[in-house]
């Protein structure tokens, strides 16, 4: 029996009992829809969490600190792991890590003409900055060979103010300076550019002033990078040493770097990478730690919702089985005739399996379409309604339901599979019917 005839015959048989077929299909539609919509709410939740956390910073980033931990499995001398170039190189070799840079931080003041701003400056390796996933609004990132080149966080230009006119940074509005074209002076003196020096006690510190050049402005106005200035780590180290000397600070020379930044290309690898780094004896911190916890929660909610959906699909499966069994009772004689005039056993089974599979497939298809419609409604009408009732809560909370393509495809496949599984035992039963006894059945 060729497949075209098989399909045609199945369709005709389904159309013979339109109401019954329709009801069985409806069951699958409801079941599929329930599962997909329930799951989609879970995806929406998890998406909102992710969006919310991403707005606090870069999810790809793992910050590594020296101290705290000790080398796991090391001998009990308790020697602290040192964050040096060797350790950095080792981190670079961890699977999933795209780039690693040591990190030095110093609070410096920038002066452009009459305007000043005091900002934390992060020193990093210019050659790896490209790999850290920074997006630019203007200019370029740091490049090898850059010394006093500065990349500004998105919000930093706004912070420049004229200390002779106001007391503080404005934090908003249009920037009064152009950090890329204007000449920049950089210094450790926090009171640079102000009329009177408050700190009159003690001796006057002779701060060095460095000429610097802005080369780029980052694009993201929300994450933590927005309030930093980035420059070559070696240059910043020199500046730090100059400052130390100028301020006459004494202290032990720290071994290695204080911290490092690790960029992980795939967010899903962040946890593994963090674990490996902790095994090396360092402390880590990443927003993903948080995200993980929240997503676990989202998954749990999704699991519960999906379970509720699954129950309705189970009911639909019973509906299909029932429909098929009824259909076999009705068609017992027919099955007998077909067997006597030469239907292969396999053909009989395939015929009934196909009918059940079609019910599943059709129901699944309609269910997927309906799910998308419901999802759309939830994201527009329901979302508006909710924000009207509760006001807009949190960030990016407008997406209630998300249906990834693989869930839609999976739903369709699942519904079809449910049909086939439900039809399996009835089809077997049809196949096993004795031809003669079926014929006597009137």
């Amino acid at each position: 029996m060729n497949s075209r005839d098989l399909i045609q015959l199945a369709i005709r048989n389904l159309l013979r009992r339109k109401t019954r077929t329709f009801l069985a299909v409806i069951g699958v539609v409801v079941g599929t829809c329930a599962i997909i919509v329930m799951l989609s709410i879970g995806f929406g939740l998890s998406h909102n969490f992710e969006e919310q956390i991403a707005s606090y910073g870069n999810l790809h980033l793992v910050n590594v600190y020296q101290g705290g931990g000790y080398v796991v499995g090391g001998y009990s001398d308790g020697k602290q792991a040192i964050l040096d170039d060797k350790a950095i190189a080792a981190m670079e070799r961890i699977k999933g890590v795209d780039a690693v840079s040591p990190r030095v931080e110093e609070y410096l003041t920038f002066g452009i003409d009459k305007h000043v701003a005091s900002v934390s400056v992060i020193g990093m390796k210019p050659e790896v900055m490209q790999k850290f996933g920074f997006n630019l609004q203007e200019g370029r990132l740091l490049q090898p060979g850059d010394k006093y080149a500065l990349v500004f966080g998105n919000q930093v230009p706004v912070m420049f103010y004229n200390p002779r006119e106001t007391m503080y940074s404005s934090w908003s509005g249009e920037p009064k300076v152009d950090v890329i074209t204007d000449k920049i002076i950089m210094t450790g003196d926090w009171e640079y550019g102000q009329k009177r020096r408050h700190g009159s006690e003690g001796e006057k510190i002779n701060y060095k002033e460095y000429k610097a050049q802005g080369v780029g402005i980052l694009a993201n106005p929300n994450d933590e990078s927005a309030y930093y200035v980035y420059m070559n780590i070696d240059t910043l180290k020199t500046i730090k040493e100059d400052l130390k000397r100028a301020r006459k600070e004494i202290g032990p020379n720290q071994q290695g770097y204080q911290s490092a930044m690790v960029y992980v290309g795939d967010i899903n690898d962040v946890q593994d990478v963090s674990d490996k780094i902790r095994e090396m004896g360092f402390q880590t911190h990443s927003l993903s730690d948080w995200l993980e916890a929240m997503q676990d929660q989202a998954k749990m909610i999704q699991g519960i919702l999906g379970g509720i959906g699954a129950i309705s699909l189970l009911v639909a499966a019973l509906g299909i089985t029932n429909t098929m069994i009824m259909s076999i009772y009705e068609r017992t004689k027919e099955i007998g005739i077909m067997k006597v005039i030469g239907a292969n056993l396999g053909d009989i089974r395939r015929m009934f399996l196909l009918e059940a599979g079609m019910i599943g497939f059709l129901g699944g298809l309609a269910g997927v379409v309906l799910s998308f419609i419901l999802s759309l409604l939830m994201n527009t009408v329901l979302s508006d309604l909710l924000s009207m009732m509760f006001g807009s809560i949190g960030v990016g909370g407008s997406t209630i339901s998300i249906i990834p393509w693989w869930v839609a495809v999976g739903g369709l496949v699942f519904a079809t599979a449910i049909g086939l599984i439900s039809g399996y035992s009835p089809a077997r039963r049809a196949m096993k019917l004795s031809a003669l006894e079926s014929l006597r059945n009137e």
Binding site: M1, K333, M338, I341, G342, A343, N344
Partner: protein
């Protein structure tokens, strides 16, 4: 010449709980290619049982059945179905057409199971309907035809695959006498044309006129075999 069908000492016992029903006692029969055999006998004598056994629809309790060189009694259901599909046509007393299919589709049904494609099937089925005198009735559903017409569709269905052997269990049992003659004429004509072998079960003495040999069965045994001497 070696017979086409060889039935050797076949016995069939039905068991229902403690009860035993000996439907066939000890039956042996050889049928040659091209023969038309009529099975007659009282109701419950075992005619249908015999036919079903030879067609592989039931297994004998004892004994052997060969068609050609194939031991029908040994084949499993899968194999016997396949054998039936290729070699055997069946005509029923109650016609047994599929109600949802048109005449031409009913006739083409055995070909569907052989995997013959739609176009070829339609041509063959249509030709066969013509041969049984039903051109113009292709699109009719069984419910829209008389008993005689339905049985002609049944004959066309049995013959369309050009099987070696045709079994007919009281093919005229539901028809009046003039229609019975009509149907028999068509059936016998077609079978003779293609040198096919036909086994008919009947109560009707006029039907047995068409046979080469008439086998009378009584209480599960062959009572006698009568050659029909028409010349």
């Amino acid at each position: 010449m070696k017979p086409l069908i060889e039935v050797k000492n076949v016995r069939k016992i039905y068991r229902m709980g403690d009860e035993k029903e000996i439907a066939l006692d000890d039956v042996s029969l050889s049928v040659h290619k091209g023969e038309i055999i009529c099975l007659v006998g009282a109701s419950g004598s075992g005619k249908s049982t015999f036919l079903n056994m030879v067609a592989g629809l039931e297994k004998p309790t004892r004994g052997e059945i060969y068609i050609g060189d194939i031991p029908i009694h040994k084949l499993n259901e899968e194999k016997v179905t396949l054998f039936r599909q290729k070699n055997i046509g069946f005509i029923f007393q109650a016609f047994h057409l599929l109600p949802m299919l048109t005449a031409v589709e009913n006739v083409g049904l055995p070909l569907i199971f052989r995997g013959v494609d739609n176009k070829k099937r339609h041509i063959l089925a249509k030709k066969m309907l013509e041969d049984v005198g039903l051109s113009g009735y292709e699109k009719r559903k069984p419910s829209q035809m008389s008993g005689g017409q339905q049985q002609r569709v049944g004959i066309a269905r049995a013959l369309v695959g050009n099987p070696k052997i045709i079994f007919a269990d009281e093919p005229t049992g539901n028809l009046d006498s003039s229609t019975s003659v009509e149907v028999m004429e068509i059936m016998v004509k077609k079978v003779r044309e293609n040198n096919q072998t036909l086994l008919i079960v009947t109560h009707d003495p006029t039907i047995s006129e068409y046979a080469d040999r008439i086998v009378t069965i009584k209480d599960g045994n062959i009572l006698n075999i009568e050659e029909n001497k028409r010349g």
